[in-house]
């Protein structure tokens, strides 16, 4: 950008929310079209492609993340009402849920402990610092919950937000193949596993498979947010005392 006029316009736009918001929606729109073109191949996950496009664009133009987030925050904010909105599919699946409350409770509690325990232990095993271990611990919970817990147990909340997204993508990309491999065919079991391990991004993927899998994934994501908030700080104390 040698033209000073253009550069001025860019500097102005980069600092206003309009640009960040617009490029987020455009990137996601392109990524989603690409995903449909690939016949819903989970490897072409729209979050991966749009995040890659946006980071590329920001680095190329020398725009900082803070400037981008001026606009990005409007999309980010909607995570709150979207969490509340999960009550609706949950309510619609209630009759099925009532039959399964005991298996759901057992799977959820074990899933939450396995998710946090294994990530702390593995990070320590491979030589990660305590800060990294604590930032990884709540990675399977939904972003706002995970950030709160990370702060409480001594992790870096903003790094946790990134790890949460990468975890969700990993779960969404690998999930259906893994379930095939271990021969789990029931949509309720697949949904619970997806929601516990990969929160909202996994839930978005689950809704593409079936509405039942989506509802159970949403349920698991919501309840494991609760369970993570209660159990993980306690689990961290316990693991530190023991090892």
């Amino acid at each position: 950008m040698t033209d000073p006029g253009l550069k001025d316009i860019w500097v102005y736009l980069a600092a206003s929310p309009l640009l960040g918001l617009t490029i987020t929606l455009v990137a996601y729109g392109l990524a989603y079209r690409l995903y449909l073109k690939s016949h819903s191949n989970p490897l072409v996950n729209p979050v991966v492609t749009s995040v890659a496009m946006l980071i590329g664009l920001l680095l190329l133009t020398g725009t900082s993340y803070d400037d981008y987030f001026e606009g990005g925050q409007f999309v980010h904010f909607l995570l709150g009402p979207a969490t509340v909105a999960l009550a609706v599919p949950l309510y619609q699946q209630f009759s099925r849920l009532r039959q399964l409350w005991l298996p759901v409770t057992i799977s959820l509690l074990s899933g939450v402990v396995i998710a946090a325990g294994s990530s702390i232990w593995l990070a320590r095993f491979f030589g990660g610092s305590t800060e990294i271990q604590m930032s990884l611990a709540p990675k399977s919970a939904t972003a706002p919950v995970a950030m709160g817990i990370s702060e409480k147990i001594g992790g870096l909340p903003s790094l946790t937000a990134v790890l949460v997204v990468v975890t969700g993508i990993t779960g969404a990309v690998l999930g259906t193949k893994l379930f095939e491999l271990i021969r789990v065919r029931d949509d309720t079991a697949k949904g619970i596993a997806m929601g516990v391990a990969a929160h909202g991004i996994g839930t978005a993927r689950a809704f593409q498979v079936s509405s039942q899998m989506g509802a159970f994934s949403g349920l698991a994501m919501a309840l494991s947010a609760f369970a993570t908030a209660v159990l993980v700080p306690w689990l961290v104390d316990w693991m530190q005392a023991l090892f």
């Binding site: 960040g20 946006l54 294994s118 593995l122 790094l159 789990v184 596993a193």
Partner: protein, 126 residues
């Protein structure tokens, strides 16, 4: 108008959730409590109003979009991630796979053991 009413209601539940969590010092995020309260309301009412159904459908059908700005945050942490990429990558990948496999198998096994006549999707009379 329906959609607007629905969004407004979702925001009100979130707001009440945030305020309650702060007032009572509950270690749970406000939106999660808001969700529980909306769920209880729907149970008591016995039906989800069209407005709430529309708004929740719109938000949930593109749930993954909402994670994009947080994902872009990766660029602010390149340095930290590059420093400890081995433990981060291995822990994240293995732990996610272990959690998903274990939870799915536990759910499948406990459903078979604990629920009499496990219902399949084909059975429409539930």
């Amino acid at each position: 108008m329906q959609f607007l009413n629905g969004i407004t209601l979702l925001l009100i539940y979130q707001l009440v959730g945030e305020v309650t969590v702060r007032l009572l010092g509950i270690p749970i995020p406000g939106p999660v409590l808001g969700m529980v309260m909306l769920f209880i309301t729907l149970m008591i009412r016995g039906a989800a109003p069209d407005s709430v159904e529309q708004a929740s459908g719109a938000l949930l059908s593109h749930l993954s979009l909402l994670f994009v700005p947080a994902g872009v945050g990766m660029m602010a942490h390149f340095h930290r991630i590059a420093e400890e990429w081995v433990p981060i990558t291995l822990s994240l990948l293995l732990s996610t796979v272990i959690t998903m496999v274990a939870t799915a198998l536990i759910m499948q096994a406990t459903t078979r053991w604990l629920v009499k006549q496990p219902m399949t999707e084909e059975q429409s009379n539930d």
